[in-house]
């Protein structure tokens, strides 16, 4: 049922906008097709697939895209492989002759950053949260060993490209009569979450601060994430591009399922721990009523419980 809803959302999005298909020589064999949709004037989104990180196609699970100004283009997240990065770069070239001046990473996760190297041309600036460089440093070896096949061969450390312009609080970028408002958030989904607001169309890119349909993965702090969600819910925007799952025009409503899951996770793990229950029992029982509402429960929820259990153990 969730899958059906997702399919409808993708079709609905494509029907109302102009969908294009890119298949370069590099990507044709590996990728059935790479599509971007213009969801608002000059705002292009590629929707990732709801797949696990070990499934075929695992490099194409995040929502990524770009925004075109009068002077240049900002890419927002680059996908989970150099293949996806190349496909995105090709999609940019189909839609505009403007150069790419910014590559913005919404956070450190592999599915959002591994295409970065494709955009390293000496002109584009890489932009991220002030905690992103350290987070990438912690992750670099892991990316190379566990996701080496998603980099150009042989995998090398310099393919994991860090930001050269960091955002400690907020930052305004201009693409030529097109201001972008970037905001760095306290620890939530990760310790380096960044949102991008395209002021002209009121389009907010949340990165993985918002998961829809795919179960949220906790890598930062649940309580912090819930606070950030509360703040996000008060923003007035025209549409939201989540890190995973379909777009929405109602940010507060789109946040509700995630908030419900995170609240259940936090309070259930806390009561399991206070009742002396084991981690295994907490994995089985915590937030179990949420299971039917989410994709990829089995590959994500046990990890979330494990993380929260360990955090609460020493709070």
């Amino acid at each position: 049922m969730i899958a059906a809803r997702l399919a409808c959302a993708i079709i609905g999005l494509a029907a109302g906008t102009r969908a294009i298909s890119i298949a370069t020589a590099d990507t044709a064999a590996a990728l059935p097709k790479f599509t971007v949709s213009q969801v608002a004037a000059g705002v292009f989104v590629h929707l990732g697939q709801p797949l696990a990180l070990d499934a075929p196609g695992h490099d194409d699970i995040a929502n990524i895209g770009f925004i075109v100004g009068n002077r240049c283009v900002a890419v927002i997240d680059t996908g989970g492989s150099v293949r996806i990065g190349r496909a995105l770069r090709a999609a940019v070239a189909v839609h505009t002759r403007q150069p790419i001046c910014y590559v913005i990473n919404t956070h450190v996760h592999v599915d959002h950053v591994l295409g970065n190297v494709v955009f390293k041309d000496g002109r584009a600036r890489f932009v991220g949260h002030s905690a992103l460089p350290a987070a990438l440093a912690r992750s670099r070896l892991y990316f190379m060993t566990q996701f080496g096949g998603d980099l150009d061969q042989p995998p090398s450390a310099d393919q994991v490209v860090p930001p050269d312009r960091i955002v400690a609080d907020t930052l305004e970028l201009d693409l030529g009569d097109r201001p972008l408002h970037l905001r760095a958030w306290p620890i939530a989904h990760t310790d380096c979450d960044l949102t991008v607001l395209d002021e002209r169309t009121g389009t907010l890119w949340t990165g993985d601060l918002l998961f829809r349909e795919r179960l949220p993965a906790v890598d930062g702090d649940v309580a912090g994430w819930l606070q950030v969600d509360n703040e996000l819910a008060r923003l007035e925007v025209q549409r939201v591009v989540p890190g995973h799952g379909p777009l929405s025009t109602d940010l507060a409503a789109a946040l509700q399922p995630e908030q419900r899951y995170l609240r259940a996770l936090l309070s259930d793990v806390r009561s399991e721990l206070d009742g002396g229950e084991s981690l295994q029992q907490a994995i089985q029982h915590a937030a179990d009523s949420e299971r039917p509402h989410w994709l990829l429960w089995d590959s994500t929820h046990p990890r979330n419980v494990t993380r929260v259990y360990q955090q609460l153990e020493w709070q």
Binding site: L53, A137, R138, S139, L141, Y142, L279, E313
Partner: protein, 278 residues
């Protein structure tokens, strides 16, 4: 067995996952974990003694087929009614870890321990096995495969409150189960400082001794396979007589201790800084 340059033992930092639990099979293309390690370990620890496969009614080893977190994989060993009070020693091996013997539990004579829970680092796809030596000298084994990658080299999380050696007890309402959490980095020696790029030296809990109401209960020889902030959970078939005391020693010969004096003290962080034994 495991060189540090082995790519499979590379870092799997907590800050870099969307769903780490599923990642490991990218590298796995065979149908069973490499079995060679046990052939080497078995004679070293048990010579040519017969090892029986334990009946499920005697010993159960509960381990996830795919770990939710390679650096904190939950394991539970459950003893059947006829085994309780008749176990002398129980070992836990993680065959393909750099230090395969994760823990040795020596039971005090007659100790009514029914269940032991722990969290361990698992470095790659492996057999996890527990071998019990009964009081009449038999060896009984249960084993399980666990799919994981990078648990020994995962970057420290360092989150939360508490200082080195702090101890925290939690119990079930029936008083039969006590979970002991020890604030300690338990650095494996296979972790890399992400900022400096240098290895983090090993620093781990080596011994945990449990006593109950002044009587020895369980002596745990631990090591680098235990997770950060080591946690041991023991369950008896009757309420544990208070106080339950733990005496912890680490690899730098620091001593930490604390006592659980019933449910009223559950959840308190018992600081060892105050008693000056760090």
């Amino acid at each position: 067995m495991f060189a540090r340059h082995n790519l499979r033992s590379a870092a799997a930092p907590l800050a870099s996952l969307l769903a780490l639990a599923t990642v490991n099979s990218l590298a796995a293309d065979t149908t069973a974990p490499a079995p060679e390690a046990w052939g080497y370990l078995r004679p070293q620890f048990y010579g040519d003694r017969a090892i029986d496969i334990a009946d499920q009614s005697t010993i159960v080893l509960e381990a996830p087929a795919t770990t939710p977190d390679p650096a904190a994989t939950p394991l539970t060993i459950r003893l059947g009614a006829e085994a309780i009070g008749h176990i002398k020693q129980l070992r836990v091996f993680i065959d393909n870890n750099p230090s395969p013997l994760a823990s040795t539990f020596d039971f005090a004579p007659g100790a009514r321990v029914a269940e032991i829970g722990m969290r361990v680092r698992i470095d790659r796809w492996t057999s996890v096995r527990t071998i019990a030596e009964t009081t009449d000298g038999r060896l009984e084994m249960r084993s399980s495969w666990v799919n994981a990658a990078g648990g020994c080299s995962a970057a420290p999380t360092g989150g939360g409150n508490g200082a080195l050696g702090d101890i925290r007890f939690r119990n079930t309402p029936d008083g039969k189960t006590l979970q002991v959490a020890i604030r300690h980095p338990n650095n494996s020696g296979f972790q890399i400082d992400p900022v400096s790029g240098n290895p983090i030296p090993p620093h781990y809990v080596s011994h945990i001794r449990f006593s109950s109401n002044g009587q020895p209960l369980l002596d745990v020889e631990a090591g680098i396979s235990l997770s950060e902030n080591p946690t041991i959970r023991i369950t008896s078939d009757a309420a544990l007589p208070e106080p339950v005391s733990v005496d912890v020693t680490d690899s730098k010969d620091a001593h930490f201790n604390a006592s659980w004096r019933g449910p009223a003290t559950a959840g308190e962080i018992i600081s060892n800084a105050a008693i000056g034994n760090r």
